[in-house]
């Protein structure tokens, strides 16, 4: 079993003091400990942005990839070696702007992995521009007169794409988030958690105080996680009360269930022997 100490890395953390990323980091570490997954058996994949640095702060296998491409990279890893637990970390611009095209397809494919989006409703590392989840009217360096289009709703999008695990967390409630991550990792299929992550440097609007006043837990309302219609309704809630927790959960075959070739064989175990291609040449004679 891993301990917090095992997960520590020599890297100095460079997030701004008070950044919401710290809550996600700690929740993730605690979730790893709780699930009992060994460090060698998990891979974290991240995109580019403040969130992406998380790979430097957890001592497990890691792939710090490029902007917006967390999902395909993570899917490639998982499909190549289904024995690994794969957890993707993305930023809201990373995933919902640059990587948006991959999102619907990852949800559909239902590859057995977890995606955690650090949703601070702003581009952090590039010093504070608007993202798709910035609220309408939000003023930023790139939108001095306020964001024009309405917010993108990733929870609703995931739901209508037939997602099998859709949740929202809040990094200001670390214990709750840890539980979500544990559930997500345990879920057989693509588990998606959008996490409210206050950016103390660039988001003057969606602050800890702002979130803390608004968020409430779905489980406190005895929300039925198997009710798709209800989940959608909850996904559309925004304003004075914003739900966090698991919106929806269901079982659906994962991508590799339809791949007999990976059922009982780990593809990484390629022998040094050449492979007989005689039968593939038959059609050419």
């Amino acid at each position: 079993m891993v301990s917090l100490n095992d997960l520590r890395t020599p890297k100095t953390n460079t997030w701004c003091p008070g950044c919401g990323n710290f809550g996600i980091l700690m929740a993730f570490k605690k979730a790893l400990i709780e699930t009992g997954i060994e460090r060698e058996d998990a891979v974290m994949v991240s995109g580019i942005g403040c969130h992406g640095k998380i790979v430097n702060y957890v001592n497990i296998n890691g792939f710090h990839g490029i902007h917006g491409r967390v999902l395909p990279t993570a899917q490639g890893i998982k499909l190549a070696n289904p024995d690994l637990t794969v957890i993707g970390f993305a930023g809201d611009s990373d995933q919902y702007n640059e990587g948006w095209g991959h999102f619907a397809h990852a949800v559909r494919a239902n590859v057995d992995m977890t995606l955690i989006v650090h949703d601070n409703m702003v581009l952090g590392l590039t010093t504070g521009q608007a993202t798709p989840t910035s609220q309408q009217g939000f003023k930023s360096k790139s939108t001095p007169f306020g964001v024009i289009p309405p917010m993108l709703n990733p929870i609703a999008h995931a739901l209508v794409s037939d997602a099998t695990f859709v949740a929202r967390g809040y990094s200001g409630d670390m214990f709750h988030l840890k539980n979500l991550i544990v559930e997500a990792i345990k879920h057989r299929g693509f588990a998606f958690i959008d996490v409210f992550q206050p950016c103390v440097s660039f988001n003057y609007l969606n602050t800890y105080a702002w979130f803390s006043k608004r968020v409430y837990k779905l489980e406190d309302e005895n929300h039925d996680v198997t009710d798709h219609k209800k989940a959608l309704k909850k996904a559309l809630e925004w304003g004075d009360k914003i739900p966090i927790g698991i919106f929806y959960k269901k079982e659906r075959p994962i991508y590799s269930d339809s791949l007999s070739q990976v059922k009982d064989e780990n593809l990484t175990k390629l022998s040094k022997q050449n492979i007989d291609i005689t039968s593939a040449m038959k059609e050419m004679m």
């Binding site: 790979v55 296998n61 890691g62 070739q261 050419m284």
Partner: protein, 581 residues
């Protein structure tokens, strides 16, 4: 009577099964022991338009299509109009005069024989589908050439499911009998079995050869998004994925494909993707990521004319610079340019070995002409190139003496690779500059060290490349002129050489197989003694000459360039070369 030497062209609308019929005829020649080359010319549309497939069969080895036609199967009038100038004297046309007429002035050539066969009527009598017209025509062609119908029947049997095979055999028989009854032995060409008949040779495209190479090399992950002319690799591998224990995925985009493949490669499996220029553009950033993370994806770049979406179904050699420079920053990569189906196969196996040994992306650059033309090959020697995974530690081998460093700085630049999952080893990599453990760094000293480390692999690679056939010389060592080229022009160049040498001139051909690292020494060795050099390329700016100039400070004397989307015709090429001589 011309024996065992024929150039046949079948043409018609898209959707009429043109390439299928060409292929069936080609295979029946192959099984009779002939050498065959088949080239597919089609437009970017699904129905209508004009498609044609040329089959050249011969007793000696052949390397390309021919620009003259001996026998034309015209499934529509347009085929006659478009190809009449290619007909040799004594050529024949199989057509259906109940469908369209051919005026003598349509075939201006003095001596063209018209063979009417009621293709449509026979096909209709049998089952109705018009598509069988082409099989009737194949039977007719077999009779005209006095060839053995049983060979064609065998091919039909092996190609189609039983019921369809029976129908097609009947169609072929009727076409055959019609010709025998109506025209006898009136055609001046004859095909017969050679002593190679029944040998186990294969007939395949460059893309199929690349697919076979990937299978043989133990590629376990293939992800791609359709783009002509790379798509047929996906089509080839997809149905084989279960049998060969491989994951084959059609992704949502090329960006997804290359990132998946790189992820899979990090996870420890051999992985490949293929695309054409547009898709390759989208992959650019992730190819750099593979360079930075020292992962080993194999990327097949099948060129077509550009810029932008250009001519989707035609051929060009315009992306050397793009391949060797792709992505921002500096990082080592390998670019291999196979020139025929053999090289497509062996280069692909080599590509996987090099990718893993040197932990860098490998690009195989090919083009439409190579990727979709069929050529005869001996069955590939499956054991010629073994699987070499480089410095890869296995679970059993891993001794936990100190912390595992994915990017350990070594003398050769290659760091021992562990794949995630091995007890005790944490495998961390990073698209940002990183230290030996894979953690992000912005330290200037480390930045330089890591750059040097990555480029030391290139030095090692260049040393190893000395033992590889990075260039190949065809023809005599001393010649009046040395042709330089790369990729698919190899076929037409070798055909042109035959023609030139028959004319008493002496030429040789230097094929550059590895474009990156550029085999400067070997090229210099060959070129410094050359009396005259000519670059032959399917591009406008002679990209290869540019590379030679850049690397060798040597100017290529002449350039013969073709950039209309079509491959070189051997005869026209020979003529152009002789004009320079």
């Amino acid at each position: 009577m011309i024996r065992n030497k024929i150039s046949m062209l079948v043409g018609g609308e898209a959707g009429a099964g043109i390439s299928r019929s060409g292929l069936l005829f080609a295979k029946s020649c192959l099984r009779g022991g002939l050498c065959v080359f088949g080239a597919n010319d089609y437009q970017s549309l699904i129905r209508g338009g004009h498609n044609f497939y040329t089959v050249r069969a011969c007793e000696e080895e052949i390397y390309s299509q021919a620009d003259k036609t001996d026998l034309l199967i015209a499934l529509n009038k347009e085929t006659v109009l478009l190809h009449k100038n290619e007909l040799v004297s004594g050529a024949g046309i199989i057509y259906d005069k109940e469908e369209f007429s051919i005026n003598p002035e349509d075939v201006e050539s003095k001596d063209v024989k018209l063979y009417h066969v009621p293709l449509r009527k026979i096909a209709k009598e049998l089952t109705g589908p018009q598509i069988m017209e082409n099989t009737v025509a194949l039977g007719a062609a077999t009779a005209l050439l006095d060839y053995d119908l049983t060979i064609l029947n065998e091919v039909l049997q092996d190609t189609f499911k039983e019921k369809v095979a029976q129908q097609n055999m009947e169609a072929a028989k009727r076409g055959f009998n019609y010709v025998k009854e109506n025209y006898g032995d009136n055609f001046g060409y004859k095909l017969e079995k050679t002593k190679l008949a029944g040998s186990k040779r294969i007939f395949l495209t460059g893309n199929e050869a690349i697919g076979l190479g990937a299978l043989n090399a133990g590629c376990k992950f293939y992800a791609a998004y359709p783009m002509t002319p790379a798509t047929t690799i996906l089509h080839f591998l997809a149905p084989l994925d279960r049998e060969y224990k491989m994951v084959v995925i059609q992704t949502e985009s090329e960006i997804a494909a290359i990132n998946m493949v790189t992820g899979a490669s990090y996870a420890g499996v051999r992985a490949m993707t293929a695309t054409s220029g547009g898709g390759f553009s989208l992959m650019a950033e992730a190819i750099g990521m593979a360079g930075m993370t020292e992962t080993s994806p194999v990327i097949v770049l099948v060129q077509r004319p550009g810029p932008s979406t250009g001519l989707p179904t035609y051929s060009s050699q315009t992306d050397i610079r793009f391949a060797i420079h792709v992505s921002q920053g500096e990082f080592p990569r390998i670019v291999i340019a196979p020139g025929d189906v053999h090289e497509c196969f062996y280069s692909t196996v080599e590509a996987f070995n090099l990718a893993e040994k040197f932990q860098m992306p490998v690009i195989i650059i090919s083009d439409k002409y190579l990727s979709e033309s069929n050529a005869t090959a001996e069955q590939f020697d499956q054991n010629r190139i073994g699987i070499d995974r480089g410095q890869l530690i296995t679970e059993q081998e891993y001794r936990q003496e100190e912390e595992y460093m994915r990017h350990r700085i070594t003398e050769t630049g290659v760091s021992v690779r562990a794949i995630p999952g091995i007890r005790g080893a944490i495998v961390r990599t990073n698209a940002d500059e990183h230290n030996e453990l894979g953690y992000t760094t912005e330290d200037p000293v480390l930045t330089k060290k890591m750059n040097d480390k990555r480029f030391r692999k290139m030095d090692e690679l260049i040393k190893e490349m000395e033992n590889y056939e990075t260039v190949k010389l065809y023809g005599p060592k001393n010649a009046d002129v040395t042709i330089v080229g790369w990729g698919s022009t190899k076929g037409p160049i070798r055909e042109a050489m035959k023609i030139i040498n028959k004319n008493g001139k002496c030429v040789n051909f230097l094929q550059i197989v590895y474009l990156c690292p550029f085999p400067t020494n070997k090229i210099e060795e060959q070129l410094k003694s050359a009396k005259m050099t000519i670059a032959v390329e399917n591009n406008k700016t002679s990209q290869l000459s540019g590379l030679i100039q850049e690397n060798l400070l040597m100017t290529v004397d002449h350039k013969i360039l073709k950039y209309d989307g079509r491959p070189f015709d051997p005869e026209a090429l020979a003529k152009q070369i002789m004009e320079v001589l």
